[in-house]
Subunit: 402 residues, 4 copies
C-alpha cells in the first residue's frame, strides 16, 4: 500500500462517499480533506460539512461553484452546440473537469498527496476525473475505491458502515432502483430499472421535468438575449450565467422540456442506457443555434458543425483539459464575437419552437434574398457562371466516363 | 441565340412553367418535351398532361416516381442521419437530383439537345438541377429562363400569358404571398410574408401539419421496423418505402410533428428564411438514430457523425452525383447492414419520443453494463490501465508545463 | 461603363500590366494609382516607378513588403504544415491576400473607387485577389481586364502597346514559352511548354534551384531554431523572418532542393500542370514538422493533421480573409506556444534529412520509452487494461456477428 | 493460472520467441502450435520449423504470405496515400493484422484456446495484435509474456534459455544495440543507440537501403502502371503485387530511397524515436499520388486527403478490423476504379521525381486549361459570376463589420 499522508475526497455527504471517507482513513491511515461543491444538484451542503466533521475531518471545503460551472464550462461548451451522438447535451460530462480541478487545487493548498473520487469502474466518470487529475498534476496519487476495495456487495458496504458508525437511513439499506447524477445543467438516471432498452422508463426516474402530457396546454413565450455567444438576459432582464440557467430550468420543467431516453456508447467500450433531463440546457441549445443562424457566416457555421462531433466526444471522454479540446475551443470562441441579439421562443408541452430572431449583427439581408425587386443587390446572371464553374469538374468527369 | 431543336422541360402544369413552355417555343422555335413527375407533392398530374397537349407538345412524360424517390434518394440520405445546419432534413434538396436524372434520360430517349428548369436565379434549386445535368450529360444545353428572359415583373408574365392563350386563374394574377415546394418528404415555404426572420410565420403557410397546439391531447404509440438501415414496416406491417413514408406523414400531420422555422445559408451566398414541414421524415429520422444507437458500433457511429455535416452540405449544394457524395455513401452504406430491429415511439403534440428499441443485432449487453454482479464479464481493474495510458500524454505534458 | 474616378492597379512594371494601365486610362478615363510591391520576386522596383510616371500616374506606391509577407502570411501558414493536395506548399496562393489587402488600403488612402489586377480568367489568382477585395471592402469596384477587354490575341496587345507608346522589348513580342510567378517563398511556372503532363519539364523552366544532379556531392549541415512555432535563427544566428527565408532559399537553391512538378486541381474546376520551386520553404516545412514531433502533444498534432487539408484548401481557393480560415488559424496558433527548440538538418542533392531535434520543451521522455529498466516510470501491466477496454467494443461486435 | 490446452504462438524462430515457446510449455503445461510467416522479412523459415520441432511442437505452421500481405493489406492502405503523422508509411502497423488473422484461423483449425505474441508492453504492436484477436475471436485467451512473466533482465532470459536447452548464440547473449522489425514493406529500428533524438542514427541501423551519399551519381528512369488504384506493372512488365514491391525495394535500396528518422506518438501515450526504411513503398506512394493527380476528380481527391489522417491513425493504433476502418476503406476504394495509367519516375540519390503521368482515364484537358485559344471550351466570363457568388457572404460580412 502506498504511503499517503493526506487525501482530497470529492465528497457528497451521502452514504457511499461517507463509506469511502472512512475506508480511506482505515486503509491509508491518512487524513482526509473533503471537498463538497454546489454545482446545482439541488441538495443542501451543510449536512455534508457536519458529517465530515463527525467523521473526523479537519479540513473541509464546501463551495458554491454554480456561477463558475455555468460561465466557464457550460457556456463555452454550448458555444459549440455540442451534442454527443447527435442528442446528448453532456450534462454529466461537463461537471467532472471542474470538480477535478478544484480537488487538485485543494490538494496543492493543503499539501495533500492524493485525490479520490467515488465513481465506479464501469463508467465514464472515473475517466473524466482521472484524466483531469493527470492533466493538472502529473504526480498526484489517484484513488478509485470502487475499483480497488474488497467489498463485493451492497451488504458488505452496509456492514462496513455499521461497524464504522456511519449512519445508514432505512432507504439506503437496499440498492437504489436506479443511479442518479445531477447538477445545474441536468439530471441523469441509469441502471437497474432502466437496464432494458426495449422498455420505456418508469415515470419515477424523472426528477427535473414534468411530462409533456402533464404540462399545461398553453404556450409560454420567452426571449433570450445573447452577447459574444453567451446568454445574458431572459425576457429582457439581464442575468448572470447561473441565474439564467436556473430560470430556464424552471421554464423547461414546467413545460415538459428536455427529457431524453437514449442508448449511448461509453468511452470504456460498452453501450449503456440513460435517461437525461436537461430542461434549461435544451432551451438554451435551441436558442443559441437560432442566434447563430442569423449572425454567423456560413463558412464559420459549417466548420463549427464539422468540428462539433469531435469536440463533444472529447468532453464526453474526459479530455476537457487536453490541448486538442483547447484548440477546438479557440476556433469556436473565435467565431462567437458577433453572436449577439435576441431569440424569441415558444415553449409548449415538450416543444421549443423558435418564433423569431433579431440582431444588430444580423447577416440576413432582406434586400438581397427578396423575391421582390432587389434594386440590383444581386445579379442573377452571376449564378450562371457560378454554376458552370462549380459543374466544370463534373462535366469533365462525365465526359471521360461516357 | 443557340440553335436548339428539342428541349425537355421540368413541367408542373402550373402557370409559371406553362409560361416557360410557351417562351421556349417562341424563343427557340424548338419542340418542347414536358416531364411531369409525381414525387408526392399532392397534386393531380393529368391536368399537366392536358395543358401540355393544349400548348402543342407532342412528347409528354407523366410519371409516378414516388417509390424511386423514397427508395433511392430519401432512404439512402436518411441512413446518414443527414441534417443541414443541424436541423434541416433536406426535403427540397433531395428531390432535385431525381428530376434532373429523368430529364437527362428523357432527353436521350427523345433526342433532345437541351433541358430546362423553372428555378429562379437566387436559389439553390437552379444549382441542384444544373449540377445534376452537368454530371449526367456534359454536353447538354441548359436553359434557365428566370435568369435569362426579358420579363421584369409579375405583370409582364401575366401579359405574356394572355397574349399566348395561357389560361390565368384569378388567384394567380397577383403574386403569391409565399412560394411553396412540396414532395413526399416535405413541404417548404419561402419568401414574401416570411421575409422578416424576427416575425413568426403566419399559420397559413403550414400545409402538411396541424399545429402541436391543435393536435389531440393523446399519445399515439407506433413502431417502425428496420432492416439494413432502411424502414420496412410500420406497427409490424411490412410496407414499401413510399407507403411507409406516406403513412408516417399522416401520423406526423395529425400529431403536429415536423415543423421547422429557420434561417439558412444558401449555396449562392446569402441567408434566407424558410419554413419546412417534414412530418414523416422527422419521425423516421428519430427512429433511425434510435435503431443505430442499439446496433451500430461506436467507431462506426462516431465516424458517421463526423462525416454527416459534409454529406448534408453536398446534398444541399447539389452535389448528389459527385464522386465525393458517392464515396461518403459507400462509407455510410457499409455501416448499415446490421441496423435492424424495432423502434417504438410515442407521438404527442409535436414530440417524437423514443420509448423502446430492440434488435436481434443488438450490441447492448446488459450482462456487461449492469450495476449488478456481472459474473466477470467486465473486469473493473482494466479501467485503471485504460485510464493511465489514456492519461500518459497528459501527464507528460503537465510535467513539462510545470 | 461604370463611372470610375480612380483605380488602384497591382502593377509589376512589366509589359502586360503596363498595357492594363493604359487600357484603364483609356477605357474609364480614370486616374490610375499604381501599387508595386517587393515580395521577394527578385526584380528591381524602381523601373516600375519610372514607367508609371512615364504613363502619367501621379500616385505611385512602391513598397518592400518582404518582412510582412513572411511574418504575417508565410509563417502562420507554415505553422499548419499546409500542403495542398499532399505536396504543394502554396507559394503563389499565400502572396495574393497581402497584395489585395494593400490595394484596398491604398484605395482608402487615395480615395479610389476601384481596384484592378492582372490575373487571367482561367486561374486561381483572380479568385484570390477578388475574394480578398470582397472581404476587405464590400463596395469597391473590381476590374479584371483579362476577362473583360476586347483583345483576342498577343498581336492585339502588342498593337495596342505600340499605339499607346508603351515600349515593347523584342523578347516580349511573342508569347513567353511559359508563365512565371515568383515571390520570396517560391517560383511557379505554368503553361505552354508545360502543358503535356506526360512530358518532364525542360530545364529552362527552373529559376530558383539547380538540379539535384548538378548540386555538389557534399552534405551541408544546418540548424534552425524555433520559438512559438516560428523560425528565429539559422545555425544559431538570430534572423528576421524574411532574412531567414532568404538564407534558406540560398541553401535550397545550392543543394537542388524544393522542385515540384505536379498536376493540381484549380478552384475554377479544371486540372492544370505546374512546376514549383520552393527551396527555402521546403527546408522550413521539414524542420517545422520535426520540431513539432518533439514538442507537440499527440492530440494536438493529430488534430492539426486532420484540419490541415481544409486549411490548405481555403488558402489555395483564396479564402485567407474568411472567418473559417481565421478559426482554423486560432486553433493552430493555440498549439504552437511550446514549439521551440533546434532542428538539425542535412541538405544533400535534393534531400532534406532531419538529423536531430532538441528542445527545452521536449515531450520525449527517454526514461519512459527506454528498452532499458525504466525504474517504474511506466507500468507495462497498464497496457493490458488499456488494450482490453479498447477492444471491448470489437469483442462485443465479434460476439454478435458470430 | 488459467487452464489452457493449446496455444498458437507467433513464432519467428529467434531466441526470444523460443524462450516464449518454452515458457508457455512450462507455465501452462499446454501444447504450443507455432506459426511462422514469410512476410518478406528476409529470413529463412525452415530453421524456425526445425527449432519448433526440437522444442517439442507437433503442429507447426510455416507459410509464405507475401502476396496476401501486399495485395490485401499494403495496396489497400496505399490507395489511401496513408501517412501517419505526415511522414510514416506504416510499414510495421500494416503487417500485424495479417499475423493476428492467421493466428486466429490456426487456433480454430487446431482447436487451440489461446494465442500468444512476443511484443513488449510499451509498444504499439501488442495493441495491434490483441485488437486483431479481439475483433476476430471475442473469446480467445490472449497471452503477452513480456507483460506477464517474471524475468527482469536479459540475464534472466539467457539463464532461462540455458536451463531449458534453448541454443544461445554468442551475439545474442548481450542486448542488441537496437531492435528491428522487418517485412516486405519496410524495416524499422528502435531503442538503445537510437534513444537520443538529438543524435543522428549510426549508419549501422540501416538494413534495406544504402545512403543517398553512397548511391550512384546517375538517374534511373522507371515507370509504374496502375489499374483500379493498384500497381500492376513495372517498366511495362506485368507483375504480381509482391513481385512489384520486391522489385521496387531493390530500386529503392540501390538509389538510397526511403529512409526516415522520426519522433512519433505511440498509441500507448509516449513519444518514441524510430528509423524506418521503406524503399519500394516510398516510390510506390509517390507514384500512386501522381497517378491520382491525373485521374481523380477534385472532390474525391480532397475528401481522401481529409479522411487520410484518421485512416492512418486507425491502422497505426491497430484498428484494421474495426467497422470505421472498413467504412473508410469503402469510401477510398469507391474512388479508385479509374486510377489507371502510367507514371514515370526518376530515381536519384534519395530523390523520387515524377517525370510524367499519362492515362486513358485522364481528367486533365489541355484544351480547357491552355493559355492558347481554347475554342470556347471555357468561358472566362463565367469566372466573374463564380467569384461574385463565392464572395457574396464575405461582402455581406464586411458590410456588417464596417
Amino acid at each position: 500500500m502506498t504511503d499517503l499522508k493526506k487525501i482530497v475526497l470529492a465528497y457528497s455527504g451521502g452514504l457511499d462517499t461517507s463509506i469511502i471517507l472512512k475506508w480511506l482513513q482505515n486503509t491509508y491511515g491518512a487524513e482526509v480533506v473533503t471537498f463538497t461543491a454546489d454545482l446545482g444538484q439541488g441538495e443542501e451542503l451543510e449536512p455534508a460539512r457536519k458529517k465530515a466533521e463527525m467523521l473526523g475531518c479537519k479540513e473541509i471545503y464546501v463551495e458554491d461553484l454554480r456561477e463558475t460551472f455555468v460561465k466557464d464550462y457550460v457556456f463555452p461548451m454550448m458555444r459549440a452546440n455540442a451534442l454527443y451522438e447527435g442528442v446528448y447535451l453532456l450534462g454529466t460530462s461537463i461537471a467532472r473537469p471542474l470538480i477535478a480541478k478544484r480537488q487538485i487545487e485543494i490538494a496543492h493548498e493543503t499539501g495533500a498527496d492524493a485525490v479520490c473520487h467515488g465513481a465506479t469502474g464501469k463508467g465514464n466518470d472515473q475517466v473524466r476525473f482521472e484524466l483531469g487529475y493527470a492533466a493538472l498534476d502529473p504526480k498526484i496519487k489517484v484513488i478509485a475505491p470502487w475499483r480497488d476495495w474488497e467489498f463485493k456487495s451492497r451488504t458488505d458496504l452496509i456492514e462496513f458502515a455499521r461497524l464504522n458508525q456511519i449512519p445508514v437511513t432505512k432507504d439506503k439499506e437496499g440498492e437504489a432502483p436506479f443511479s442518479v447524477d445531477a447538477n445545474l445543467l441536468h439530471s441523469s438516471s441509469e441502471g437497474k430499472v432502466l437496464e432494458d432498452p426495449a422498455v420505456a422508463p418508469p415515470s419515477i426516474v424523472y426528477q427535473r421535468t414534468i411530462s409533456p402530457m402533464d404540462a399545461p396546454d398553453k404556450a409560454t413565450e420567452i426571449s433570450i438575449d445573447f452577447k459574444e455567444g453567451d446568454g445574458v438576459a431572459l425576457n429582457g432582464e439581464a442575468m448572470s450565467p447561473a441565474t439564467l440557467l436556473t430560470a430556464l430550468n424552471k421554464l423547461g420543467h414546467d413545460n415538459g422540456i428536455g427529457r431524453l431516453d437514449l442508448v449511448e456508447n461509453r468511452f470504456v467500450g460498452m453501450k449503456s442506457r440513460g435517461v437525461y433531463e436537461t430542461p434549461g440546457g435544451t432551451i438554451y441549445h435551441v436558442a443559441h443555434r437560432a442566434m447563430e443562424s442569423l449572425t454567423l457566416d456560413r463558412g464559420a457555421a459549417h466548420l463549427k458543425d464539422e468540428l462539433m462531433p469531435r469536440y463533444a466526444e472529447l468532453i464526453y471522454n474526459g479530455f476537457w483539459f487536453s490541448p486538442e479540446r483547447q484548440m477546438l475551443q479557440a476556433a469556436i470562441d473565435q467565431s462567437q464575437k458577433d453572436v449577439e441579439g435576441r431569440v424569441t421562443l415558444t415553449l409548449y408541452k415538450g416543444n421549443v419552437i423558435v418564433s423569431g430572431r433579431s440582431s444588430p449583427k444580423s447577416l440576413y439581408q432582406e434586400k438581397i434574398v427578396t423575391f421582390e425587386d432587389d434594386a440590383g443587390a444581386y445579379d442573377q446572371k452571376d449564378a450562371a457562371g457560378f454554376i458552370r464553374l462549380n459543374g466544370l469538374r463534373l462535366r469533365i468527369l462525365a465526359d471521360r466516363d461516357k
